[in-house]
Amino acid sequence: MSRIGLIRFVVIAALIGALELACRTGLIDHRVIIAPSEMASALWTLLASGALNADIALTLSMVGLVIALSIVLGFAAGIAIHALPRLRAALDPFFATYYAVPIFIFYPVLIAIFGLSIMPIVLIGVATAIVAMIIATLNGLDRVPRVLGKVARVHRLGPLATALQLQLPAAAPYLFTGVKLSVSYGFIAVIAAEFILSPAGLGREIADAYADFNNRRMYALILFLLVVATAVNAVLHALDMRFAARRSGGRV
């Protein structure tokens, strides 16, 4: 571990240790925050009992569905919009404003239309995540070097071969940025929707535990989601680093 990594580890450990100490000595009321060690043991008990399995499966499969739909549909929409410059010019102001307006405020509206089921959750998740993928696809296609078109003609590549062998690799870094954002946004939107109003899922369980003053359960669930989110982000970050290394390695 590098010196900076070591310092970071010590800082985080010290923060958690300080919280543990403050909770154990009663400086922080256990009705407000429970000690980190208690959160971990509560999570362990909860996971071992299997009581959470259904909620975990539901939430994670919904997140997975939202992310898959957003990436596939967003990529397709990006390609289509890129091919229609006039539509794109008209859409640009919408894209520029999209993440500035609280799209999530439409979640209750979707509930009014589709009822309290998983449908509004998936829709709000896709609505939140898909635009990042569309914008990233457009950015990626914009930055495909023009010379690649000439290369394709020189090698007499068909449209499909040009797309797969030249355009896709050239746009890949931008597409990956879109994937990363879609994963992050999709996760956040699904959890938020579950938490605010939903029939089931981990977000709903946290809200219920909060309403029941069941702090052990609530903190166990929060810890679980934070660990999962951090792990997913760490994997994406590692992939990002690997892509970056490969790109700079390829350039002599």
Binding site: T97, P102, I105, A112, I206
Partner: protein, 247 residues
């Protein structure tokens, strides 16, 4: 392509959006989704009712306090981590991973600490805004050419003078981008806070409208919020572009 034609195309798309709304209304039915025109009439009629004004004021107040906190704390962290290399290297990955967490999971904790009133929602809004402001400020200060700092040392400026007359002016355009992003997510945080366990504010109003199946009111709040957020963002973008051009 001329600017007028672009504007006309964008207007056409807005029109298409209203048509889509009308279709949604036909499909979903009157109770779930009111038609566009009656909703606009309802909006104009109800914008000045005391109840709406009261909720609007609450949200505005919460947003104001939350922004004050987010900007203050975010700028402080950003300047510190940007100017002090080791703190920045240690802290940046921590800030980045906090930035991409679903902060809604922490809302119960915020409520337990700050209570159900206005302070809980303000704290939750600020929690959203601090991170982008801190990260972009840090990046902006790091990108300042070292020669500026050498000039500041040559002129024997105090640390505060260095921050005020060299670091901040040089970093301003990027910092302002952070403030704009901070504004967006702080507004989202405040609204999310209002949508859960709250009686006041526009977020609570929209949740209430859904529960009593008041479609026009639901759409009215959504439209007002969208218009406000889009206008505020356009204004902030305009200022940002001018700052960038000045550099």
């Amino acid at each position: 392509m001329t600017a007028t034609r672009r504007a006309a195309d964008t207007l056409l798309l807005l029109l298409a959006l209203v048509v889509f709304w009308e279709i949604l209304h036909r499909v979903a039915g009157e109770t779930a989704m009111p038609a566009p025109m009656p909703t606009f009439a309802y909006l104009l009629h109800n914008l000045t009712t005391p109840r709406f004004i009261a909720n609007l004021t609450t949200t505005g107040l919460e947003l104001g306090y939350a922004l004050l906190l987010a900007y203050g704390i975010g700028l402080a962290i950003g300047v510190w981590m940007g100017a002090h290399r080791l703190s920045g290297a240690v802290g940046e990955p921590i800030l980045v991973s906090l930035y991409s967490l679903p902060k809604i999971t922490l809302y119960p904790v915020v409520l337990l600490i700050f209570g159900l009133g206005i302070s809980g929602k303000v704290a939750f809004g600020a929690l959203h805004g601090i991170l982008p402001v801190a990260l972009l400020t840090m990046g902006a200060i790091r990108a300042i050419p070292p020669v500026y700092l050498r000039a500041a040392r040559t002129l024997q400026l105090s640390p505060w003078q260095t921050i005020g007359t060299v670091l901040l002016p040089a970093a301003l355009p990027e910092v302002f981008t952070g403030l704009r992003l901070g504004f967006t997510v702080t507004l989202l945080g405040v609204l999310l806070g209002e949508m859960f366990a709250s009686k006041d504010g526009l977020g609570a109003m929209i949740m209430n409208a859904v529960q009593i199946v008041q479609g026009e009111e639901m759409m009215m709040v959504a439209i007002v919020l969208f218009a406000f957020a889009a206008l505020a963002n356009a204004l902030l973008l305009f200022i940002e572009h001018r700052l960038h051009r000045r550099m």
